[in-house]
Amino acid sequence: MGVLNDVARAAKSIVKGHMVTLREIFKPPMTIRYPDEKPEQPKGSRGMPVLKVNAETGELNCTACGLCARSCPPGCIEVIEETDANGKRMRRPLAYNLDMGKCMVCNLCIEACPFDALEMAANFEISVYDPENLVFNKDQLATIWKNYDAVRIAGGEKL
């Protein structure tokens, strides 16, 4: 009778497995129809770092100190400070290039910045046909900051 027991147990396990898939047919699907439906991104979701624009002056907060570039593990930030005709440092970036092809979105640059100039936007749709276009300059970064609700830290909590 051991054989019959085994057969009964085997049959029961197979039937139970089928009930699981049958129940699953009547549940709603998990897929979303991208790009018609976009995924729900919580506040603070990491897409790409962007440069913050001061609301009153309309200028970037960035003073081109270079701390973000030094703290970036893949080294994807390039900052060049602007100097005027006499060579005096203007504490403004002449060029700020962020290579999204190398960026691993680790958030360290945003935490390193002491001037509240960098924030993390949730924009992940940055696909381009030419990888050279993945290098964002400061104007592009400021525009993206204006269009997206960027935050310093996930959940909006203070460090």
């Binding site: 497995g17 699907p29 129809r33």
Partner: protein, 321 residues
């Protein structure tokens, strides 16, 4: 019009209808499989090409046609090229004896219809061997050998189970079996429930479906005997597999579920409905169960299905006939 010309035209019409049906069936069944499996997996399935993705297969077929016809070097070209055709032919041949109404059979009602069915459906094995051998690749050969061993093992319980039905009905002709069910008022699935289950398992193994798809197990040796086929050649093999699925389900519907019997709707529609119900059960089983190994497959056949089907034959012979 001379008589032979009318007959000839009639044959042409029937063949065209069958081929058209096979084509539409293929499109519908692939769509059904993809949608059903998606529903079971919390997905949506094809949903962009056509309403609810119904025209997805047209896009896939166009893609297959546009692929480069890669012929592997050192292959036996004639054998390799003929293999998909040999696999597809038996699928069409089964339609010859399908009854679609009380007095209508697509071809002729052979009085050895069951024997014809068993013989023709085991011809797919030759096609698989040709595919594996002609490709001259280690993977394909391994896959073909495994498929051959499995298919041969499952022929015997299959034939024994349909023999049970023949015993119950008293005739080998397919139309006769359906008629017997209609006359007696009950479908053969009730006295022959064990035979039905055995037939179902055997036919899923023959088709290489469900838990027995090791002959084309993508996770093991790439695609087995289908590795060296691309483009429309592979499309034909796929079509052969799906058409065989339909015919196997149709045979089960006729032998066990009464074929074209049913109120209100025309006979051929009932046959199609019953066949598709069984096809959906086959798909349900395929997407639920994991795969069995080759030695477990052979164990199941020789050590379990064969004795059970023999026992079933004896029991039916003694008690019911």
């Amino acid at each position: 019009m001379p008589g032979w010309l009318i007959d000839f035209l009639w044959v042409v019409v029937k063949v065209t209808l069958v081929i058209a049906f096979v084509g539409v069936n293929f499109i519908f069944m692939v769509w059904l499989e993809r949608k059903l499996s998606a529903k079971m997996q919390a997905r949506i399935g094809p949903n962009r090409v056509g309403p609810h993705g119904s025209l997805q297969l047209i896009a896939d077929a166009l893609k297959l046609f546009s692929k480069e016809d890669i012929k592997p070097a050192m292959a036996d070209p004639k054998v390799w090229a003929l293999a998909p055709v040999v696999m597809f032919a038996p699928a069409l041949l089964v339609f010859y004896v399908l009854p679609v109404g009380p007095n209508a059979v697509i071809g002729t009602d052979l009085n050895v219809g069951l024997l014809y069915l068993a013989a023709v459906s085991s011809f797919t094995l030759v096609g698989i061997f040709m595919a594996g051998w002609g490709s001259n690749s280690k993977y394909s050969l391994l896959g073909a050998m495994r498929a051959g061993a499995a298919l041969m093992a499952y022929e015997i319980p299959l034939v024994l189970s349909i023999l049970t039905v023949a015993m119950l009905a008293g005739t080998l002709s397919v139309q006769g079996i359906v008629q017997a069910q209609v006359d007696r008022g009950y479908y053969f699935v009730f006295p022959g429930i064990v035979a039905f289950i055995i037939y179902f398992i055997c036919v899923m193994a023959e088709l290489g479906r469900g838990p027995f798809d090791l002959v084309e197990a993508e996770h093991e040796l790439v695609m087995g005997y289908q590795t060296e086929y691309s483009g429309m050649r592979w499309g034909i093999m796929l079509m052969a597999e799906y058409t065989n699925q339909f015919t196997a389900a149709a045979i089960a519907a006729m032998l066990f579920l009464g074929g074209w019997d049913g109120p209100f709707l025309p006979g051929w529609l009932w046959l199609v409905i019953k066949a598709y119900a069984l096809v959906m059960v086959m798909m349900w089983v395929r997407w639920t169960l994991p795969r069995v190994r080759i030695d477990q497959l052979l164990d199941l056949s020789w050590k379990f299905l064969l004795p059970v089907s023999l026992l079933n034959l004896v029991v039916v012979a003694i008690f019911l006939v």
